[in-house]
């Protein structure tokens, strides 16, 4: 099980399109992937869950990955956040 805290830095936060990107990325992995914020824990492979996480700019979410490819999964998802979901701001 891998755990790490990630800060949301893109301007609009985890809005619909960013959630879609995140869900699509998470779904590629076999590992179970969870995101937690404010005591709410959601499956990162469910777009509805990710949208409801309501993670706006400046918030911190906790990423958990557990499974055979957990290291790669955590790396890729963290990269997506750091890349501001390709939005450039």
């Amino acid at each position: 099980m891998l755990k790490r805290a990630i800060k949301v830095t893109n301007k609009l936060g985890l809005h619909a399109r960013a959630s879609a990107k995140l869900t699509q990325a998470a779904s590629k992995f076999e590992s179970a992937i969870w995101l937690t914020r404010n005591g709410r824990r959601v499956n990162a492979k469910s777009i509805m869950g990710v949208m409801m996480l309501a993670a706006g700019i400046g918030t911190t979410v906790e990423l958990e990955a557990e499974g055979p490819d957990e290291a790669a999964a955590a790396r890729e998802i963290e990269a997506l956040f750091n890349d501001k979901f390709g939005e450039g701001e």
Partner: protein
């Protein structure tokens, strides 16, 4: 309502009156554009039916999935490509367990119909969204809501098809509470024969787009969503603003006859397509088209327009959260300029703000109290110099593929024009430095739509190459009527003496200064006003292509010396009844 959804087919006939915003007659079956505030049926089902009800639900989900896939394919290759990511989000939401599994469980647990199960699941989801503090993220519930609406629509469809065996040949008529311009653009993919809405005014943007689709439309009906049922036969008379629900045999026959006559009339007009527009006394008149999307060019061709007098560039900017970059804009403008083959293409720079909002401007959350008077059009562009620069560069680059003109909207002050012209110079210098080719002589014109500009016209006219009068905004600002507010929309009057005085004054001043002047608002496409405008001295009309042939027919039958005395009297009249009588006399 019974589970099979059967309804008395011979419902009571009644009529509703609204504002006809797009003329013509359509006969078809009502399709309710479900807002979730609408009631959803609730009934229990026997235990033995649970499986079948779940299958009905699965089928509706599958239908929506197919629909979204199709939509994704079609928008990908169209001018609406910027919609693709949103369609994608909807597809993913649909495939989420919240939609694929939860309602099936509710059907099993509560033994209720699929609609009710979906409704409960949606209420649950929306409740969770409403707890979100971030305004922007909270509003994403709209996506969830829209997906649910689609599934509900599909559920209604499956029921309707079981209830009515024969495939109907009539088209559907969309009945909605309100439509956003974005909705209407999506509806271009669907063969709706007409649409009617409860909200909206005569010149709201929605109405303008409806006219661009050339289908009848009626707005401000107030209660159509509750009074009309799914699949009821309705007649929409967009010219009169009347909706007839469940018409009897005789009424139906009468309207079919009228529909045929209109069709014949249209065919007759088509023969005028290649005729040059000139009055009986031989004065040539230019009839241009207004367009929204590059794909409208085909319609422009079919209408016989000799140029584009208004390309509303903001449609490139709507329905998306990012800004179109220079290359994307360049491609769109180039496509239009090139396909018009040397005929003029007037590109209005971004007129965002007021009723046309953009998601990518980062201003979500703050609704200006009075957007029509706020940061819009050239004011917005000067406040966002990079956005403006990108657009000007894209237009200039497109200019070498044909004949492009730049049109600056909403000019009000001296400094605005100074800054706008400087921005054009700056864009030109950049391109020159980069060695990029463009037409050095791209004309720059101004929209005259703020009364201040119409009154203080000499302040602008010397520094502009041409003028274009936007009558919609000019009327709205002169009369202080919000054109999107249906409670005051009836006060919106193109024939108000103040409006006519401003309009005639602008045309006269332009002629004295030997500067071309066009009218590109709705008035230019109103065949009842064609002669009056000709009498004011207007020789250059730009309108929706759907009106072009009718206006041409009127021009061809007009003798300028004959109408002059009546037009002179119109400008001296202040009583509405006399004004109306003079307009009728002019058109007799």
């Amino acid at each position: 309502m019974s589970p099979d959804g059967a309804r008395d087919p011979s419902g009571v006939c009644f009529t509703m009156h609204g504002i006809g915003v797009s003329g013509g007659i359509a006969i078809g079956h009502a399709h309710l554009f479900a807002g979730m505030h609408a009631e959803v049926d609730h009934y229990e089902i026997p235990a033995a039916e649970v499986f079948r009800e779940q299958r009905r639900y699965d089928k509706a989900v599958k239908e929506v999935r197919d629909e979204l896939n199709e939509l994704a394919d079609s928008v990908r290759h169209s001018a609406a490509a910027e919609l693709a990511p949103f369609v994608n989000v909807h597809r993913m939401l649909l495939d989420d367990a919240a939609f694929t599994d939860a309602p099936r469980e509710i059907i099993r647990e509560q033994r209720c119909n699929a609609e009710w199960a979906l409704r409960q699941e949606l209420d649950e989801l929306l409740a969770q969204f409403s707890d979100i503090d971030d305004t922007y993220l909270r509003e994403r519930e709209a996506d969830v809501r829209q997906v649910a609406e689609r599934v509900l629509g599909a559920l209604a469809g499956t029921r309707a098809r079981i209830a009515m065996k024969p495939v109907r040949e009539d088209a559907s008529i969309l009945v909605a509470r309100d439509l956003s311009p974005a909705d209407v653009i999506l509806f271009r993919q669907h063969p709706f024969a007409a649409f009617v809405t409860d909200l909206g005014g005569a010149t709201s943007h929605t109405a303008i787009i409806a006219r661009s689709m050339n289908i009848p439309a009626i707005v401000a009906l107030h209660h159509s969503r509750t009074l009309v049922h799914e699949d009821e036969l309705i007649i929409v008379d967009g010219t009169q603003g009347v909706v007839i629900v469940n018409p009897d045999r005789h009424v139906l026959a009468e309207y079919r006859l009228r529909q045929n006559q209109a069709r014949l009339e249209k065919d007759k007009l088509k023969r005028l397509r290649s005729a040059p527009a000139a009055t009986l006394d031989g004065t040539p008149v230019q009839l241009y088209a207004n367009i929204e999307l590059p794909s409208d060019v085909e319609t422009v061709r079919a209408s016989g327009a000799t140029g584009i007098g208004l390309l509303r560039s903001e449609f490139l900017f709507m329905n998306r959260r990012d800004l179109p970059d220079e290359d994307e804009q360049y491609e769109a403008y180039r496509e239009v300029v090139q396909s018009m083959k040397g005929m003029p293409v007037t590109i209005r720079t971004l007129d965002i703000g007021a009723d046309k909002t953009m998601e990518g401007d980062g201003s979500h959350g703050e609704q200006p109290v009075n957007p029509a008077l706020g940061l819009r059009a050239i004011r917005y562009c000067l406040a966002e110099p990079e956005v403006f620069n990108t657009q000007l560069r894209a237009i200039l680059r497109a200019s070498r593929h044909g004949k492009a003109l730049i049109l600056i909207p909403m000019l009000t002050t001296w400094n605005e024009l100074t800054q706008a012209l400087a921005a054009v110079q700056r864009a030109k210098e950049q391109l020159r430095d980069e060695g990029v080719k463009f037409d050095e002589y791209v004309p720059v014109g101004g929209m005259i739509e703020v009364p201040a500009a119409a009154i203080a016209l000499p302040m602008f006219i010397r520094r502009l190459d041409f003028l274009s009068v936007g009558t919609n905004d000019l009327i709205q600002y002169t009369l202080a009527i919000d054109r999107a507010d249906d409670r005051v929309a009836h006060l919106y009057d193109p024939l108000h003496p103040a409006v006519l005085a401003l309009l005639a004054g602008v045309i006269r001043t332009a002629q004295q200064n030997e500067k071309p002047v066009a009218v590109c608002g709705e008035m230019a496409g109103d065949v009842e006003l064609t002669r009056m405008l000709l009498g004011f001295g207007l020789r250059h009309f730009s309108m929706h292509p759907a009106h072009l042939l009718a206006v041409k027919q009127r021009v061809l039958g007009t003798s300028l010396p004959d109408i002059a005395p009546t037009v002179a009297r119109i400008l001296k009249t202040d009583e509405p009844d006399k004004m109306q009588a003079l307009i009728e006399k002019l058109n007799a």
